[in-house]
């Protein structure tokens, strides 16, 4: 049967339908939010991967979903330090989401050397074809990349948004975060 996926802020916690990274000044990084992903299937789900897209319904930001999405990708693509930023995902739950303040990323190193932290950008997490596989480090109960075993509630990622120093247009932005997965009945 089709299974149900639940996103939550704690292991086994109540379902969420949004994550608010809160307001922050240009040049800074937003609050980090830990998001747990679980399912109610009787078998594992596989090929789990994350990607983002424009928010197409219920948009409540200050601009529009497509503009916000394009801007976020452009921030991730930028190489000048003052223009670099974007949506960042840390999959090192087992390691305590290590990497220090930068998570080991910069305008010159947009995916950390350990391969567990990502700046979403063109070709990396920007659409379904480029979805970022869930690391086996998202939980001690996960041993294979992309898998969430049945009954495991501890798979989690940490996310945040780095605002470029040169960004001078204030306002609320919104985008969609998707999970892609495979399941066998």
């Amino acid at each position: 049967m089709p299974i149900n996926i639940t996103w939550s802020l704690t292991s086994g916690g109540g379902a969420i339908t949004s994550v608010n990274h809160a307001a922050v000044e240009s040049g800074l990084t937003t609050d980090e939010t830990t998001t747990f992903i679980r399912h109610d299937g009787t078998r594992k789900i596989t090929n789990c991967a994350l990607f983002i897209g424009p928010k197409t319904s219920g948009y409540a930001g200050d601009f529009d979903g497509t503009s916000d999405y394009n801007e976020l990708i452009a921030w991730g693509d930028s190489s000048p330090a003052g223009d670099f930023g974007g949506f960042q995902i840390n999959m090192d739950a087992e390691g305590g989401f290590s990497g220090g303040a930068t998570w080991g990323m910069s305008e010159l190193q947009k995916t950390s050397v350990d391969g567990l932290k990502f700046t979403v950008r063109t070709g990396i997490g920007d659409n379904i074809s480029n979805a970022i596989p869930l690391s086996e480090k998202v939980s001690a109960s996960v041993s294979i990349t992309g898998e969430i075993p049945a009954g495991v509630t501890t798979s989690s990622v940490k996310t945040r948004i780095k605002i470029p120093t040169n960004e001078d247009i204030g306002g609320f932005r919104e985008f969609s975060l998707f999970l892609k997965y495979s399941y066998t009945s």
Partner: protein, 149 residues
């Protein structure tokens, strides 16, 4: 009827309609996977079939937006049928039948006279013949993958 049908070497078959699967009356992985000789997968006007003795697997891909309410099963974006290549299978061919969305993979253990569209399997034993319906882009994809999905 959307769903799969397993065909066994003793001339029996097992039907797993989407409705029965949803109601947990039947399950792909919990029903017998032994002695299969073929399997088909239907989805609306698509019909896929793979023939040959061996191991089969069926899975679907989904996407889910975080903003969707809890309890949502996500959106199915791909349906997949796979068969592991047996050492006895030397060639495979994808046939599109007269009905546009009717596709069949047939395997052979002997060289074929008509080599048009033939895939040689000699070095691919253990890999997986894979037929997928891409529900987003509305087409069928035939590939050989290293593992079952």
């Amino acid at each position: 009827m959307n769903g799969w049908t397993k065909y066994y070497s003793n001339d029996t078959n097992l039907v797993g309609s989407d409705l029965d699967v949803e109601q947990e009356l039947v399950s792909w992985s919990e029903s017998s996977l032994d002695n299969m000789i073929a399997c088909d997968l239907s989805h609306n006007d698509y019909f896929l079939k793979i023939n040959g003795i061996g191991n089969y697997w069926q899975s679907d891909d989904y996407i889910l937006d975080l903003s969707q309410p809890s309890g949502s099963p996500g959106t199915r974006i791909c349906r997949r049928l796979q068969k592991q290549i047996d050492a006895s299978e030397q060639y495979a061919k994808l046939i599109q039948h007269s009905v546009d969305k009717n596709f069949e993979v047939i395997t052979y253990n002997e060289e074929q006279q008509d080599i048009n569209g033939i895939v040689e399997l000699a070095t691919l034993t253990g890999k997986w013949l894979t037929l997928e319906i891409d529900l987003i882009n509305d087409y069928v994809r035939f590939s050989i993958l290293d593992s079952q999905v």
